[in-house]
């Protein structure tokens, strides 16, 4: 609580206290803490003098502003048509096997969350995923294995 309050204060001093600062502030919190806790949203509401329900309402509109607990590395697997045609299913299966979680879940050590997402703009190199903000493309189960192993050792 103490820490998140400081961060929010720091961010609102940097971006300003007007409503237009809401997105940059929420984005920065997510970058740092992977998702938005209730405490963080209440703090942001206080700093920007808007209601907490509005902060939640805005955050929940945007897929990347998670309001549910997420791991350190959020893996987003593109499920839109080309990726879906080019082996998205295998990629998901591989990820579920390595991480021992299902889509929508987070590993118990809170390192990885696995979710599906809509088109991320890599259709020519499908299938593609994002891990946090980094894209990985032209994936095969083998490549996915390697990539995740690297993250596990980070």
């Amino acid at each position: 609580m103490y820490q998140i309050g400081n961060l929010v204060k720091e961010l609102s001093d940097k971006h300003g206290h007007a409503r237009e600062s809401l997105m940059p502030i929420l984005q920065a919190i997510v970058q740092k803490h992977n998702y938005l806790t209730d405490e963080a949203m209440v703090e942001v509401a206080r700093e920007l003098d808007i209601s907490a329900a509005e902060v939640y309402g805005t955050a929940s509109f945007y897929t990347f502003l998670d309001t549910q607990m997420k791991g350190k590395y959020v893996i987003r697997v593109c499920k839109t048509i080309t990726c879906s045609m080019k082996g998205k299913g295998d990629i998901i299966q591989t990820l579920e096997e390595i991480l021992k979680i299902k889509v929508g879940e987070t590993t118990t050590d809170r390192q990885f969350s696995l979710i599906e997402t809509n088109c991320i703009g890599w259709c020519h190199k499908a299938p593609a995923i994002l891990i946090n903000e980094m894209p990985y493309t032209e994936l095969t189960p083998e490549k996915v294995n390697e990539i995740i192993k690297d993250y596990m050792h980070k």
Binding site: M23, T58, F64, G121, H124, E133
Partner: protein, 386 residues
């Protein structure tokens, strides 16, 4: 209809001396820049195809001294990735196009709204922006650009939703009128242009409007960048003159077994093999923001349609009835038909619903859901039912 065949062009990614173009633009008057755009016949490259010159002209005519130029880099249409490529490779031209637009409409400030999925580009873009700011400052151009990030919402590519998002709100499209040229971001006159449009504009200033109109057709001037994906041996980014037929496109990019091409993404049109020869890619035929997806005969068009409807059901902002509920009904409806739980004639009712959505939804997203639905159901009815 004119048919100029398939012509590869090198304009967007052409290496140029940005500073030289900026010096040239800076020496031009607002009216001269706008006239060049009008002469070139350039239409917006995001998909909607509004004439760029007119947009700038209207914004320039507004009395309010506070105006903005907004670069729409919220490229979310399934199958498009050209704006990411443009920003990655020639962001100086994007910034240049914005400054030129700023000069044309009388704006000193620009925003780039970059989709959250492309955040990995940001560090590099910041460096490029820094040197761009220095460069135009040297020339004496009073203009600055700020990046604002999206966070995963397809609808924010709709211009007024994008403004709402920049303002820190839910990305819900506004009622129109007022149009952005009168009341855009922060309720100020705004010209909002697609990434590629801005680069094209800069290149028109560089080469002149006449050079641009050597390509394309009367209704679809010039060239544009196509994002090619799906069942093709050569997926990727290709810059082509407008006005070719889908057949010519398929001849170049198909795998020999192409049964349909989805032109313009999920909100675009599905062209079946039997119509390849007669369909022009351009505003006189099937318009596209660049998304070209090829499907060969191994693909189920039911799966394609289902995927698109699932996409819209999630990505609709949800505020207006026809779009929010209509998408759910189309999705559930085709599922029921496929499972045999609804009669195949139910598709007729769904087509009527798609027609309602086209005329009753609040924004372009809801209005365009019917495009894919009607063209896929219309051309591949058997695949939807059986």
């Amino acid at each position: 209809m004119e048919n100029k065949g398939l012509t590869k062009v090198d304009l967007i990614f052409e290496k140029i001396d940005s500073k030289k173009v900026m010096v040239k633009a800076f020496a031009m008057s607002s009216a001269e820049i706008i006239q060049s755009m009008l002469d070139s016949g350039l239409k917006g490259r995001g998909g909607a195809g509004f004439p760029t010159g007119l947009k700038w002209k209207y914004t320039a005519a507004e009395k309010n001294p506070d105006k903005y130029i907004v670069c729409n880099a919220d490229e979310g249409e399934p199958g498009t990735f050209k704006d990411r490529e443009i920003l990655d490779r020639v962001s100086n031209k994007v910034h240049g196009g914005m400054a030129i637009a700023g000069k044309a409409i009388g704006a000193k400030k620009g925003f780039v709204y970059l989709r959250g999925e492309y955040r990995y580009l940001l560090p590099k873009l910041m460096i490029e922006l820094d040197s761009f700011h220095k460069m135009i400052h040297e020339i004496g151009f009073d203009f600055s650009i700020e990046y604002r990030m999206g966070s995963g919402a397809y609808i924010c590519g709709e211009e007024s939703a994008l403004f709402e998002s920049i303002e820190g709100k839910r990305g819900e499209p506004r009622n129109k009128p007022p149009y952005p040229t009168t009341s855009g971001v922060f309720e100020k006159p705004t010209s909002i242009n697609n990434v590629e449009t801005l680069v094209t504009a800069m290149m028109i200033i560089h080469h002149g409007a006449q050079n641009f109109i050597q390509y394309g057709t009367k209704d679809s001037r010039g060239s544009k960048v196509f994002s090619v994906s799906g069942d093709t041996p050569t997926p990727g980014i290709f810059e082509l003159a407008l006005g070719m037929t889908v057949q010519q496109f398929v001849n170049e990019f198909g795998d020999g077994d192409t049964k349909a091409v989805q032109v313009g993404g999920a909100s675009g049109f599905c062209v079946p093999r039997k119509k390849f020869a007669e369909t022009i890619i351009g505003f006189e035929g099937v318009p596209t923001g660049g998304s070209m997806k090829l499907f060969n005969s191994s693909r189920s068009m039911y799966n394609v349609l289902h995927n698109y409807l699932d996409f819209f059901t999630e990505e609709s902002c949800g505020q207006c009835t026809p779009c929010r509920v209509g998408c759910q009904q189309l999705l559930k409806g085709v599922e029921k038909v496929k499972k045999g739980e609804a009669k195949s004639t139910y598709l007729t009712e769904l087509v009527k619903l798609a027609d309602t959505m086209k005329i009753a939804a609040k924004c372009g997203l809801g209005q365009s859901v019917g495009n894919a639905f009607k063209s896929i159901v219309g051309n591949f009815k058997e695949e939807i039912i059986y």
